[in-house]
């Protein structure tokens, strides 16, 4: 049996079926991401001074990924327009470009941005011990200037055995510049370029430590929402790439040869999904990387 209204419009809705289908799906997606974004708002507004970290993500890499996603949105709409103009070759190339953009985006996230976070540590200092580590926190000056206090010392953990061995009494942290030189005004604001940890090592006694954690979802409400939202977004990118791959492979050429409008419509609805994924990222990028 032929599936009805894949190309022609259904008289009562005025649309071909897949179009209304994808929009209903996107409506549910708006609710899904809306829930997560409102959780972000809730967590952020309730964070105590110093609890919401800033400048922990790599801004140039995030900007590059944003640009890649925007360019893939352009190429997918051009792929669709090429089908409408019956230029299969152009379609094939545009689709390939879209797939590559999606793959690069995922690759950067999974093999560069996320692993870097998991090997970076933050040591939260107990409130009554912060005075002791003033040389790394610089809170006297921050209070004078009306800035939020620093509550953790971040960098590379030099002695990993301290995490498991109770006989090791202190953590050794090769500090990020923000703690190595806490009173330098250039460290008051997040840096644009990624600055690696220095070789200046702080020894922090375990009894002064509230908790130690890598920059995973368990680090803070900030990283919990970052990994949840970018993880779900990444799953969407992966889903889009798989669908595009199917439409790019020779199987789909048969659909084109049977009826080019059918493939064009398929590309249009999957393109709508892809643009939505792009649209979500447009909000994710400033909320997590810049603000």
């Amino acid at each position: 049996m032929e599936i009805p209204y894949t190309i022609s419009t259904r008289p009562d809705t005025g649309l071909w079926n897949a179009k209304i289908g994808i929009w209903l799906f996107l409506a549910s997606e708006v609710m899904l991401f809306g829930g997560l974004f409102s959780a972000y708002v809730f967590l952020r507004l309730d964070a105590q001074p110093g609890e919401w970290p800033h400048g922990l993500l790599n801004v140039p890499v995030g900007t590059m990924n944003t640009a890649i996603l925007i360019m893939s949105s352009v190429t997918v709409v051009l792929a669709w327009a090429a089908l409408k103009m019956r230029r299969y070759n152009a379609y094939w190339w545009y689709m390939l470009a879209t797939i590559l953009c999606g793959v690069i985006f995922l690759f950067v996230k999974l093999y560069y941005e996320w692993p870097q976070k998991f090997s970076h540590y933050g040591v939260f200092i107990k409130p009554d011990a912060r005075e002791k580590y003033e040389q790394y926190l610089g809170n006297h000056r921050r209070e004078e200037k009306g800035l939020e206090p620093r509550i953790e010392i971040t960098g590379h953990l030099e002695n990993h055995e301290a995490l498991t061995d109770p006989n090791v009494k202190e953590y050794e942290i090769a500090m990020d510049p923000v703690n190595a030189d806490p009173n330098n005004p250039t460290n008051d604001r997040p840096h644009f370029l990624y600055v690696p940890p220095t070789d200046k090592v702080a020894k922090i006694e375990k009894e002064d430590v509230e908790r130690i954690s890598s920059f995973g979802p368990w680090h803070s409400a900030y990283f919990a929402s970052y990994f949840t939202i970018t993880g779900l977004h990444g799953a969407h990118v992966l889903g889009g790439v798989l669908v595009f791959l199917y439409m790019w492979l020779p199987v789909s050429k048969k659909v084109y040869q049977r009826n080019p409008e059918h493939l064009a419509n398929r590309v249009e609805v999957s393109g709508l999904f892809w643009h939505f994924v792009d649209l979500v990222w447009i909000f994710v990028f400033p909320l997590f990387y810049l603000l």
């Binding site: 809730f42 964070a47 609890e51 801004v59």
Partner: protein, 128 residues
């Protein structure tokens, strides 16, 4: 106005139609360029201190506490503008069928309701 018209079967007509799509292509490229430009703009603006004007909009503490609350408003305005371009031009919402608008009006209503629930979290009738 934004959607290319339905496909024509007659070759001569299709030629004219393809020309119409061609005009759309240049618009898509233009919008893509604008989106890239606004991405750079939002990155640049995040390094400008807009201070705490309109901070009364936020009735609770927002990190960073030293002001810059307007930066949040600015960044969200730029993002909303970019999202609007994607929705209107790439997703063809500038000219869609009425049924889709109806679906989206419902969605907008419910998602605003969802954010309103978050706002309610600070409703405190005892101490206020």
């Amino acid at each position: 106005m934004n959607n290319p018209p339905e496909i024509a079967q007659d070759p001569a007509e299709h030629e004219e139609y393809a020309h119409g799509v061609h005009q759309h292509v240049s618009r898509y490229l233009l919008v893509g360029g604008l989106l890239l430009l606004f991405t750079l703009l939002t990155v640049a603006l995040s390094y400008v201190d807009f201070g705490g004007f309109f901070s009364w909009l936020f009735h609770t503490h927002i990190s960073p506490g030293s002001g810059r609350k307007l930066n949040i408003t600015v960044a969200i305005l730029v993002a909303t503008f970019k999202a609007g371009l994607v929705a209107l031009i790439f997703m063809h919402l500038a000219a869609e069928k009425r049924l889709i608008y109806r679906v989206l009006i419902f969605t907008g209503f419910f998602v605003l309701g969802l954010f309103w629930l978050t706002y309610l979290a600070w409703y405190d009738p005892v101490t206020r």
